[in-house]
């Protein structure tokens, strides 16, 4: 009987997490992200006001500067109010919720679709691979904002349609990375070993190849969430994204835009700042993920 294992090491994910936490900027990004996500998830509980309950809004409170008290005296508008007298803080929490849902939802769906197509391309090779990858090239060469505008003009606005548009534009990034990574993993002995054990193809792809392809895909996912949120904000700002009943951060910015020049900066500024913080946080985390999950550093 041989002796004990040489290293008392942990599982790879734990090692990666510990290395992740060693960078202060990443920890700040992660904390910021957690704060924003908590705010979005518990919007209903945290917000002093339901900004879309018309009964709760008083038009007399319209365009109050930050820190003002409401006419009724119940609420202090820490971030001011918008043109309809909505509490901006509450509106931002609800808007963040919409933005994050669209961003994460589309990134997730695009991820599943893209990874599946990427794995299929890598596995089949030949004509199937060629067709999928040329489609990827096509999608990636299209100007995304133009395609999105066109699609939403056709489909009409609405959360579902925005997500659909974003998925269509985003899956190609996952597919390209998943395929490239799977081709690398495919050359490794453990892939052949799994085939030699007579395991079914789907099992080899999902249980053996996919987990080893995940690190770079996680990085892509983080950056794609940021891209989706920005794109959705742009579309909403242009009036083609989220519906008025579910305003996202982009729509909030657009709503306050007309008041910018009259000195009532806060109506656009605070939603914009929130959007900026969200994007910066996600990018900080994504960049650190890229460093930590680099296969050269991992092995």
């Amino acid at each position: 009987m041989t002796s004990a294992p040489v290293a008392s090491g942990r599982r790879p994910a734990v090692t990666a997490l510990r290395r992740f936490l060693r960078a202060p900027t990443a920890v700040i990004g992660l904390a910021l992200m957690a704060l924003l996500i908590l705010g979005a998830v518990f919007a209903r509980e945290i917000a002093p006001q339901n900004p879309f309950d018309l009964a709760a809004i008083d038009v007399l409170d319209a365009r109050l500067p930050p820190g003002s008290a409401s006419m009724s005296g119940d609420i202090t508008y820490w971030l001011g109010t918008d043109g309809q007298g909505r509490d901006l803080f509450s509106a931002i929490l609800y808007g963040l919720r919409t933005s994050l849902t669209v961003g994460v939802g589309s990134a997730l769906l695009a991820g599943i679709l893209g990874i599946l197509l990427g794995l299929i391309a890598a596995w089949s090779g030949g004509i199937v691979d060629a067709l999928i990858m040329r489609l990827v090239d096509l999608i990636m060469s299209l100007p995304s904002i133009l395609v999105a505008l066109l699609m939403l003009a056709l489909l009409g606005r609405g959360i579902g349609n925005v997500v659909l548009t974003l998925v269509l534009l985003e899956w190609a990034y996952y597919a390209r990375t998943a395929r490239a990574q799977a081709l690398v993993e495919r050359k490794r002995d453990y892939f052949e070993a799994a085939r030699g054990l007579g395991l079914p193809t789907y099992r080899i792809l999902l249980r053996h190849v996919l987990p080893n392809c995940l690190p770079p895909l996680l990085v892509i996912a983080a950056l794609q969430v940021a891209r989706a949120i920005t794109l959705e904000a742009t579309l909403s700002f242009l009036g083609l994204g989220a519906p008025v009943t579910q305003p996202s951060l982009g729509l909030l910015i657009a709503n306050g835009f007309q008041f910018m020049l009259s000195g009532e900066y806060w109506i656009s500024f605070f939603p914009g700042l929130t959007l900026l913080l969200a994007i910066v946080a996600i990018n900080l985390v994504g960049d650190r993920l890229r460093e930590v999950l680099d296969p050269r550093a991992l092995r």
Binding site: T2, S3, V6, A7
Partner: protein, 329 residues
């Protein structure tokens, strides 16, 4: 007796790791005379390659030499500045690596790299340097050397690349060549060719050779003297016949016994139980103790290195030199 060309005294090289300090070389002393070939044998993690890199001054952070002396012609290399070291490297001391691409630059032609190496240490015009480069390739058994000079490394086979790397190492007629497993990655027939050529060239020029390998059989064919390393220390050293025919350290004996050529076909091979120690947390006393059949109580202390022609680091040797006194670890 001539003064030694190279003398290592209690060399200690340390690497900083996530888990703590790792002393890859813990106490290595040996001497090498001009024209001699010393085979430095060990398994992975024994510190044999780190010893070679230490002599070349190629230990980069997080590693550094923390103790001992490396005397080359009487000068301590550990105290030399980078510029003086650079002048020695590739000129008086050269190294051949297991992977020839450690020597060769993939984007430069062979001729550029060879001429550069010559002219870095000698003022000589380019045409004469080129002639010398061509002759060096020819001497390493490379066919049509003139044509190969203009090739890029990737246009050559693995064996050819290693020949070029060796030709570069030998081109300034160094006093000492450190060869770190240069034939391990090569096919048997190519390995034999390279062994033959290195042997011939170093013999003709009187070059001292430090041949680092895990393969006792290769060493048997080329070395005058053998030093066996285990866990950062030399445990046995002596003439090639003495060490291979009358191994005294249980580790050396186990290593020889585990070679498939040493016992009758189909019989069970002698096997050393266990695995090599974790060098971040090596065993107390004799590092081979936990795997040793002759272990006794006193093995919990570190055995010293005996003096003489056949040196040993063991309290309970199989035969040969008297057992050493204990030293502070």
């Amino acid at each position: 007796m001539t003064a030694p060309l190279l003398e290592l005294r209690h060399l200690r090289t340390r690497f900083r790791t996530d888990r703590g300090d790792l002393d890859a070389v813990r106490d290595v002393s040996f001497t090498l005379r001009a024209g001699e070939t010393l085979g430095l044998v060990g398994e992975s993690g024994s510190g044999k390659s780190v010893t070679g890199f230490s002599i070349m001054g190629l230990i980069d952070p997080p590693g550094r030499i923390v103790g001992g002396e490396i005397l080359f012609r009487g000068h301590d290399l550990t105290k030399l500045d980078e510029e003086s070291l650079r002048r020695l490297r590739g000129n008086r001391i050269a190294m051949v690596f297991q992977d020839p691409m450690m020597t060769l630059n993939p984007v430069l032609r062979i001729s550029t790299q060879m001429i550069e190496t010559i002219r870095a240490h000698e003022s000589i015009d380019e045409a004469s340097a080129r002639v010398r480069a061509r002759d060096a390739l020819g001497a390493m058994g490379i066919p049509s050397p003139e044509a190969r000079l203009d090739a890029y490394p990737h246009q050559l086979s693995g064996g050819m690349r290693q020949r070029v790397a060796i030709a570069i190492a030998l081109i300034n007629k160094p006093d000492l060549v450190i060869a770190d497993e240069p034939t391990t990655a090569l096919d048997v027939s190519i390995q034999a060719q390279i062994l033959a050529e290195v042997q011939q060239l170093t013999r003709e020029a009187g070059t001292a050779l430090l041949w680092i390998t895990h393969d006792l059989s290769v060493i048997a064919g080329i070395a005058d003297e053998i030093a066996v390393m285990y866990a950062g220390r030399i445990v046995e050293q002596g003439g090639v016949d003495a060490v291979l025919d009358r191994p005294s350290h249980p580790y050396t004996a186990g290593l020889i016994g585990s070679l498939p050529g040493a016992s009758a076909p189909g019989s069970m091979l002698v096997q050393i139980p266990g695995t090599t120690p974790d060098m971040v947390d090596p065993p107390q006393g004799c590092a081979f103790g936990p795997r040793c059949a002759r272990r006794a109580e006193d093995c919990a202390r570190q055995p010293g290195f005996t003096e003489g022609a056949h040196r040993l680091r063991c309290f309970h040797p199989l035969s040969g030199p008297a057992s050493p006194a204990e030293v502070a670890a």
